[in-house]
């Protein structure tokens, strides 16, 4: 057989999740001890049939494709739940994201399956068996039942899918043998085709592939010919590759309701861990996350966490969320928690901790401090002084929220010393016995320096003086030229 060299070395892994419809719904169903038999049903041509069921139900003799009436007749206490395709697809996307960490060549099969090409990941995982083992562990952590098949192309892998998860990579010979010994009845074709296989006396894939190609094309339709060509690696399979979505949205439902903030933390942690898997897959950091806590009836509570830097670490995101949660008014019972984020930046190059001079980690420490202060005290509690192009002191120096600062290089216009403290509003000064008086008598040391600002808006002309009191404290005073009133505007400190 003529094979493309590059294709011949591919190793395709087909992951199938046979119980996915059940496992998606399991967290929403009431948990009982001992576990009840559960079956997921699906509408198929006017009748509702069992799609999959748990072990307890199998013990009663329930199996896929039974009609719902038969199933209930077999086991009267069977819990029946309808399939929810939307949730199932969402879960499948999550699993795809998880597998994306194992191989970048990944395709999602709508029928509860994933294809992975793993020949490029040999070095990273130090062997295929260790890759398979790690993948198996990860999937078990996710509480999903997975089985797999391994072949030299996606179709072959799907065809030889086993009833269990194999952790050992079979040899090339074994892979071929398995493909050849697969019964033709497993092939996804119509009844007419199956009939003609029977008439020809063909039982396994081996029998079919042994026939010369010209004989095949005369007997079967083009679809099957293409399928066989792809199975033989003569033609490539063109399936769209998996790409992580542009924004992250995940939710956890809890029909029983969550009544206090402490019990919110566990589902929040799960969601943040999912977010971090997503961020890792996309190799980016997030700048903002949004929480939404929805009650069954009433208005949802929302909370937005803005980061001064960027993050991809779930534990620090959880700490920030927890700090901000303390200030949030929540509905009495929470049914659904949603996490959303679409503000991403590319992950900084290199590892922060490997920085020779530690400058980076210091930067990170400051932004972590800002974030946690922000979360606990609120945005309005933090500010940074900033220089502006203006002559009036109260406009030349303003406070802005951190991170909004524009660094302007200004010439120091005033030659006179300037105070470190500025009063938020100039305080009027009294005159007693020909002396200025603000809390105590003040005397002028030097001045004036005239400042006028915004002459086109208002008549503001001020003469600034330096003054002191009897105990050595120095003040910044001004006299308004129009009204001749004195004010204190700052303190030297």
């Amino acid at each position: 057989m003529a094979k493309h060299n590059n294709l011949a070395h591919d190793i395709w892994l087909y992951l199938h999740f046979p119980l996915l419809p059940l496992e998606t719904l399991l967290p929403q169903l009431p948990r009982e001890q001992p576990p009840k038999p559960i079956a997921i049903i699906d509408q198929q041509k006017n009748t509702q049939r069992v799609l999959c069921c748990n072990n307890q139900a199998s013990a009663w003799g329930i199996e896929p494709n039974l009609s719902i009436s038969t199933a209930l007749a077999l086991c009267p206490e069977l819990v029946v739940a309808p399939r929810q395709i939307e949730l199932e697809q969402q879960r499948l996307q999550q699993l795809a994201l998880l597998c994306y960490r194992f191989s970048p060549v990944l395709t999602v099969h709508s029928n509860c399956g994933l294809w992975l090409e793993i020949s490029g990941c040999y070095k990273l995982f130090k062997g295929y068996n260790s890759l398979l083992q790690q993948l198996h562990n990860r999937l078990q952590e996710q509480m999903v039942t997975a089985v797999n098949g391994i072949g030299s192309n996606p179709l072959a892998a799907q065809l030889v899918c086993q009833a269990e998860f194999q952790i050992q990579l079979p040899s090339t010979r074994q892979i071929e043998q398995r493909l050849f010994s697969t019964a033709l009845s497993k092939l996804n074709t119509n009844a007419r085709q199956q009939q003609s296989f029977k008439q020809l006396g063909l039982q396994t894939m081996g029998d079919l592939l042994a026939l010369p190609r010209s004989a095949l094309s005369r007997r079967f339709d083009r679809e099957l010919i293409l399928y066989i060509a792809q199975l033989n690696n003569d033609k490539p399979c063109n399936a769209p590759r998996f790409q992580p979505a542009n924004s992250f949205r995940d939710l956890i439902q809890n029909p029983q309701g969550i009544f206090n903030k402490e019990s919110l933390l566990f589902p929040m942690k799960t969601l943040l861990q999912n977010l971090c898997h997503y961020l890792m897959a996309r190799q980016c950091h997030c700048r903002e996350i949004e929480w939404q806590f929805e009650p069954l009836i009433g208005e949802p509570a929302q909370m937005r966490i803005q980061l001064s830097g960027s993050q991809n670490n779930w534990s620090s995101l959880l700490t920030l969320s927890r700090l901000q949660l303390e200030r949030l008014e929540l509905p009495r019972s929470i049914e659904q928690i949603i996490l959303f984020s679409d503000q991403f930046v590319e992950a900084p190059q290199g590892m922060g901790n490997l920085d020779l001079f530690g400058d980076n980690s210091c930067q990170q420490q400051s932004s972590e401090l800002i974030d946690s202060l922000n979360a606990r005290l609120g945005m309005e509690a933090l500010s940074q002084p900033v220089l502006n192009q203006d002559y009036l002191p109260e406009q030349a120096s303003t406070l802005v929220t951190p991170g909004k600062q524009i660094n302007t290089a200004l010439d120091n216009r005033l030659k006179a010393p300037q105070p470190v403290w500025l009063l938020s509003e100039p305080a009027p000064v009294q005159i007693r016995n020909q002396q200025l008086y603000w809390h105590q008598p003040l005397s002028i040391l030097s001045g004036p320096e005239r400042l006028c600002g915004n002459w086109w808006q208002s008549e503001q002309q001020r003469d600034y003086y330096l003054a002191c009191d009897s105990r050595g404290a120095r003040y910044w005073l001004f006299r308004e030229t129009s009204s001749q009133c004195w004010f204190v505007h700052g303190l030297f400190s």
Binding site: S366, L377, S397, W421, L422, G472
Partner: protein, 234 residues
């Protein structure tokens, strides 16, 4: 045998004070004033809380710390509950990076304590001003312990009436001034030094001349009183 072991163990501890030994294992940062460095045996203590008690605001208490803030460089400097708004042009003229300066306002003593502790633990330089209801001994001890674990300096400004109460801080300095640009520092508490040591620090030229309101303008150039900011640079 056992006794000598205990003693040698005690001697290796950081916090054992060994009489008049001049080699106190302390880390310090230079204050920018030679005479003050001498008084404080090297400078402001690092990994400790320093309490400054000015007789009144405006006598130059903040200028004392400007060299430290400037030297702190790339790390954040947090000002917790300052009495007034910091004036950016003066700070920028003193060579302080404004984007490293963070002003935090607390709403209650609990928030004040939490923010102060967070700041110390994250290695930022903390300048805190005590709230009107003075922090309790336990609160200050908490901050002092946090500072001892960290590697940065922390400063607390308290009103002078706080001198009546005991304080767990490592260094307590009373600041007063009788004359413009002249500051009298009195050590009220310091490890390894008897309290009461005093230092007269000149922050600039003193000036005795006052001008009457009737005689304005005071025809003197502003440069006459040395800018404390400029002096620090030299």
């Amino acid at each position: 045998m056992a006794n000598t072991e205990i003693i040698s163990n005690l001697l290796t501890r950081q916090d054992t004070w060994r009489g008049r030994s001049r080699h106190l294992p302390r880390r310090t940062i230079y204050t920018g004033h030679q005479s003050l460095d001498l008084l404080l045996q090297g400078g402001w203590p690092v990994a400790a809380l320093t309490e400054l008690l000015p007789q009144q605001l405006g006598i130059g208490e903040l200028s004392l710390l400007l060299p430290v803030i400037k030297k702190h460089g790339s790390q954040l400097c947090l000002w917790l509950d300052p009495p007034y708004q910091p004036y950016a042009p003066a700070l920028s003229a003193a060579g302080i990076a404004l984007d490293k300066l963070l002003v935090v306002r607390s709403k209650n003593p609990r928030e004040w304590l939490w923010a102060a502790e967070q700041s110390i633990r994250s290695g930022a330089l903390l300048l805190a001003w005590a709230r009107p209801q003075a922090p309790s001994y336990a609160d200050l001890r908490k901050l002092q312990l946090a500072a001892a674990d960290s590697s940065s300096a922390a400063f607390l400004f308290s009103p002078v009436k706080a001198l009546g109460a005991p304080s767990p801080v490592a260094l307590r300095l009373e600041l007063e001034s009788s004359e413009v640009n002249q500051m009298l520092l009195t050590v009220r508490k310091m490890r390894g030094v008897a309290s009461g040591a005093q230092l007269q620090l000149s922050l600039g030229e003193s000036c005795t001349q006052r001008t009457n309101l009737a005689q304005l303008p005071a025809d003197r150039h502003h440069g006459y009183i040395n800018n404390p900011v400029l002096r620090l640079k030299s």
